[in-house]
Symmetry: C2
Subunit: 236 residues, 2 copies
């Protein structure tokens, strides 16, 4: 019997304007692939790379409805006939898959498991794939996503992070939706210990108070980005 | 007999101002580590991460004498007592290791092999480590480093890339010294096929002509960066 070691391949991409991370994940055997959080301004780059890597793009997946940039999902689907997946709370009519906690997304022998991790928004999904979690904006490196708009909730954020993500094995790699300090990834073990908001047993009440005390300005493009992203980025 | 699979760990870091990539590489068993191309403005961040990851930093290594930013190597050595390694052509008196082609740098059971790949400068080193090559500025993703200063030479650049890097196995991951388009890594196979300057059998004469025809402006900080980096970044 020949045993083939299946390993998912991952490519991290950056949109420098919005400091957004986009990910390609694929099964090297079948070449079936998903893109997570594509950015509209980068669609041409991403389509070219998908073509060069000889991938069969099956899915364009959102970690949530973004407020700071427009998704590239709609344009990518126009080119490659993939399925757009977003959490069912997003009420996004243009999407093909209304995802809920526990759903599995298959690319050949590679699986992405949907973990509903609300708190930054009510549409947050973390995608777990063979020792790696794509955490979107709920858990950032040494930080966490703001909780003051789009049905964000600091208590839910704390619960999602501590009950769902911090219960994964310590060595699980974390690939976030953004970073502003030049970090590209982290691990569950690191964030449990060193995340200044959540590490070393920070209490729920303290976290809620901290998140509520932040005086953050509204993202520049929020008023157009949220409805634009509910429309899969297919707006003027 | 118990076989332990030794795998090098890698962490990619970004300096957004100069679009420079810094890398931490370590042996997960011994925790011995090297940092490749640290940036002076990011030393505090990098030292904190090294501490949090519980690493024993043995080396701070340069892929070349940089012209666009100041290295953090000198400041890192002041904190962590590591050895600074740079190619012997750099004539950098402050460095501890004058590296030449074929040298091996050991961190526990992990080895970095020095490949002299001149062409961008005469001090270019690519570091090869267990299926990954840190290519500095000689080979960039879908591009290559300019060859018009610091003893750069387009013919040498072509030879270094095609004879030394493109002869590595196709699946070898390439981690470059910079990227300006949001790519984080590539593979030898991809660059052999899709690098517009070098892919698909581009000829040496064409490459030389192309590189010589570029009208590039001098990097802003070059006049201070080059002597500053020969001094391990320890300048005002």
């Amino acid at each position: 019997m020949v045993t083939t070691l299946v390993k998912r391949q991952i490519r991290q991409l950056i949109d420098n304007r919005s400091s957004t991370y986009t990910y390609l994940v694929w099964d090297p055997n079948s070449r079936e692939a998903a893109i997570i959080d594509p950015v509209r301004e980068q669609v041409e780059r991403d389509l070219k790379l998908i073509h060069e890597l000889d991938l069969i793009l099956k899915y364009s997946l959102e970690t949530h409805i973004h407020a700071d940039h427009l998704t590239g999902s709609g344009l990518i689907r126009e080119s490659l006939d993939c399925s757009i997946g977003v959490h069912t709370n997003a009420a996004s009519e243009c999407s093909d898959l209304k995802l809920v906690d526990g759903d599995n997304i298959s690319m050949g022998e590679v699986k992405l498991e949907v973990i509903h991790t609300p708190g930054h928004t009510n549409t947050d999904i973390s995608y777990l794939c063979d020792g790696v979690v794509f955490s979107g904006d709920i858990l950032l490196i040494r930080g966490s996503g703001r909780t003051d708009f789009q049905s964000g909730d600091p208590g839910q954020s704390y619960d999602s992070i501590t009950n769902r993500l911090f219960t994964l094995p310590s060595e699980t790699l974390i690939y976030p939706g953004h970073d502003y300090n030049g970090f590209t990834c982290s691990t569950v073990g690191e964030e449990k210990q060193f995340n200044p908001r959540l590490g070393n047993g920070a209490q729920r009440d303290d976290y809620i108070r901290l998140m509520q005390s932040m005086k953050l300005t509204k993202p520049d493009r929020m008023d157009s980005a949220v409805p634009g992203n509910q429309a899969c980025g297919l707006v003027e």
